[in-house]
Point group: D3
Chain length 243, copies 6
């Protein structure tokens, strides 16, 4: 099967960005099951990173467009690669292939591993967007909150040790408040491939949302399932145009 990973930001415009995209693709392909081919694409116009509602909205139109193209290109599923799942519900309206949001996928996975989960987020400004997401997708019964590491997305990877230490500290804070399961709430964290180390440090499961999203996309395709078109109908004017 073929899965398209849509990066809802601008990354490929610089050489460093292109390289990072290839690195991420490599990780995704490594995480995928045998028989799965992963693609990756970013968007033309959008934010450099997503740390606010504002930037989520800027990224959504491009992300939805890329999902539509993925379906036309024959991909079996698409992932919108930002933890806040920007535009995922809109994209589902446009297509019939499964569209997976890493936030939603990892939150429900957390629900299956324990009684109370917390999210380690990047900047304080993203905490309300995570609270909102948990409420929106219906994963709030076991959600106890998010704690930020206070490091901007674009600096996360530059000092791996500092970031690791900050994630562990935020995770310990959440564990102290009762969390028995953690989610890394940012795709740039996810692609640091760091969840195993954090899990070792804290002795509770730590979910990598990129792997969770990929696995959930594979699972849906394998089960022959996709989102309900009753829940996500084609927008009426588009439907009329097709008739």
């Amino acid at each position: 099967m073929r899965i398209q990973y849509v990066l809802p930001g601008v990354m490929s415009k610089t050489d460093a960005g292109k390289k990072e995209m290839q690195r991420r693709l490599g990780l995704l392909q490594k995480w995928a099951s045998d028989g799965t081919t992963v693609g990756i694409v970013d968007i033309e116009n959008g934010p450099m990173s997503i740390e606010s509602h504002y930037e989520e909205y800027l990224s959504a139109p491009g992300a939805m467009e890329r999902v539509r193209e993925a379906e036309q290109a024959g991909f079996d599923a698409a992932i919108v690669g930002c933890y806040g799942d920007p535009g995922v519900d809109g994209a589902r309206e446009l297509v019939r292939i499964p569209v997976v949001g890493p936030g939603e996928a990892s939150m429900f996975m957390a629900c299956m591993l324990g009684h109370k989960y917390g999210i380690v987020s990047v900047m304080e400004s993203t905490v309300p967007t995570l609270d909102k997401l948990a409420r929106l997708v219906g994963a709030d019964a076991k959600y106890i909150g998010a704690v930020s590491v206070g490091i901007p997305v674009l600096e996360l990877a530059s000092d791996r040790e500092r970031t690791f230490a900050a994630i562990v500290e935020a995770g310990r804070n959440l564990a102290g408040r009762g969390a028995d399961t953690l989610v890394l709430g940012c795709m740039s964290m996810a692609f640091m491939d760091i969840s195993g180390e954090v899990e070792k440090a804290l002795s509770i499961p730590v979910i990598n949302p990129a792997r969770a999203a990929l696995a959930m996309a594979e699972t849906l395709v394998r089960c022959g399932l996709s989102h309900s078109k009753k829940a996500y109908p084609l927008p009426p004017k588009l439907a009329a145009a097709r008739r």
Copy 2:
């Protein structure tokens, strides 16, 4: 005080659209308190009407931009004139003046008038966006659901009698399910200035979301209040750029 009404769609490109914008401005000005001046503006790129999550996302970037411009132009508050409140939380991150969403404003007004309220929406496809909005803003404790009239936004005004009958029928349906208060869940309905007639037909309060949003904007300005910047912080990269 000066309040900017941002139409998060494309309307002014045709003469008919320009005329309709002026008509709406006239109504808003008529509804406003003495001493309030209302402005109106649409966006450059966006949907013709909003009947899906997809179109909400398309309209948000332009709407946020117009709110930012409104603040720079000295407006005291801004309204994002679509019932689904697209981009409202993002816009609040950008500015300090109050940003009012008609959906949120009218839902909370409904909460103050009765025990259970329902929303009359346009197309079936908008029902999930309304359920989501009620949940998001925290107005779901008294929300019993939305019923659609099944008429596209762009056709609402073309046959006033048919639309009136459909609204009354949807309202009766909601009242039968326990609603004691109604909200018209679409701005094109709002600008039909029809809530009084529906109220007379159904004998329960019917809220016009355009008036509700305007009144709430005036109220916030009058009380010297605006949204919490702790809740809606300036996006970090913008904040860094200002320093």
Copy 3:
């Protein structure tokens, strides 16, 4: 328009009380929009201040009576001037003009300004009445709790600086627990006209419930709205007597 402010306690029996009532009326009139005339009246039998469920119940019969008289005297709306909204639902059953409770009005205003709000209350004994009110009116989705200043209502104004300091401390406590918006949960606090200073000290919005109630009453009158008589029907024996 004319709005009656009903003080559900005994205040006018002493000269000092009469003077305080005039002072409050002056503030209300100052806060009102152009064209609004405010009246004020207390009740004959009731508590000196309201700091318990017990006193709320003592004040309700008189408050309901005053609201009925206000409607008969041609007022366009009435406010029951205690934060706990004693008798508001009962009063709504008696009349058709809007009856505004400062608790309800300010809680919903808080819901529109942020994600989590807290209330600064007077005595510890009032905290359960506020928790109950948030739950009752359906404003609990964003409510995080109340913290008291530990100063009796009747002593609040006697040492303004001490009260200010205590409010700021209680507010800081709530902010530390996540509140991004505050409400002053007592009308005697409200009439200290202190919310602006507290807002400055804490950098989050602080809502004055007297202003909020007044603005909401004006808003409802302006929009031609009142509570649902389906939700608040005339009590059956009174209805039978009218027939």
Copy 4:
């Protein structure tokens, strides 16, 4: 033990009323355990029957006073004999003996007998007061709603067969909506001693709130328990006066 049943309305002013009070006392005494003596008292000023929030408020001051007197007279517990539990929380602030509300007691008893319970109420106007009560006391997780028989409280007993038929019909309606347990939501219904017959007709448990309240009062006394004075503190001014 001695339990005072406080009738929060005016009943003893007529001979018929006095007789009815004695009849009710007889039933209570019959329902009581060996060793329990029940007293009964009504209030001086208050409504003839309680079918609205308005009348609940009118009845609360007298009810609270009677509970205070009961404690002073050495009763071990008091019941506020109206299904809406008017003034119960206020009365608890005044005294240390258990104060039982029939609404609360029967709702929690219903929670222990099934998964979903409904209430058969008198007039449509009381439905919102029951919804509010379920929410207030925290018994709403299993509450599915109330259906009224449409017969005024004062006429319930005049045509027993008609009332029985109406209760069965309302109960069937609730059962059709999923209720597996019923509560009679009115004390005048309770004193018709009709729950056994209704249970036979509908094959699901039917709770008599007068018996439930009495049993719960006995239970609390027997277990040496009363309400938390941390939750229901003595009103501050009364506390100061005692010092």
Copy 5:
């Protein structure tokens, strides 16, 4: 009336166990009303104590069987004597006599005494089982959590002073988090007959779940009530076998 207390563990196999069972029976009989006879029985195969979901499941089959036998032997009600109420819903399916779980009974009693209750549990491992129980029975609206004393069930009674101190400390912790009412969340604690002392130390009501369960069983029998057979139907294959 006759009430069977089913101990869902293995206790009577040793002499010490037999003696302890007799001691518990003595306490139950002391707590019972005049006219109530209590029986006690343990199960053949099951855990020594219940401190996990695992052990709850091990104890349920035997407990259900003992309840069935109790009905056949003419008991009027049965209590499943473990705080986690293992098998209670299953047992209700088998019989028509009331089956009381001490967890459920004491949680709802707590709901009637205050606004927020907490549970003092034994081992940390039991906390999730209590959170789950509160949610399951619908007593979570006022539940603020459980705090464990960290002493295994089988050691609770061996050092009464240490256990008392640990209970008081856990209770203080819960009170500090807002609890105004406590429940002892373990039957071995209950049979230490220690709740009165803890109540004295903490000045808030402390519920003994053994007494609460016994009182509730007596109450249901006295009121002629039992669980709804619509909610707890006889398992279909058993029903078919009876036909």
Copy 6:
């Protein structure tokens, strides 16, 4: 990877049962990814089918034991093959490999496909167990209820057409109440391999819980995740025995 499917009932004692187990194993193996080997095992003592809380409890001890053996035998994950997930939380306490419940797995999958899901169950008697499960695992935000087909588990497969028709009818009922996604709430339904046909008939996604559980087990193993041992600690007495 190797996954053990534990059938928490008695099936292998008859030849027909052995054959059915092999048939189910064949389906599971067909549904599995390349590289996954599935095993199947039933329990020694337990019910023939599970249609009540009673039978769930009877099946749990054997199911937990089989999961423990699966871990010892080197399986990478285990599935407890009954929709009610009997003993799943207990089994998690015993082992470190992922233990998947088909109910939980399919409910969360449904949460990811739409806004409101319903369950098609077997006998009416199982509806309360499903309501309870949704609440327990935290998947109730989007759950609208269960509708039974009224066919005993053991008769489901005997008349495939009748069963198909009954499933479609129950599904239509749920869709009429708003469900946009369905789950088949019984493993014997799941192994009829009928979800595709039902989906075709109703035009909304229909989840096969056996496939969902299998896919979720594979996903967890692939992601290197298992349940939190903080949430599901080894029972204290077992832990002590290991030391």
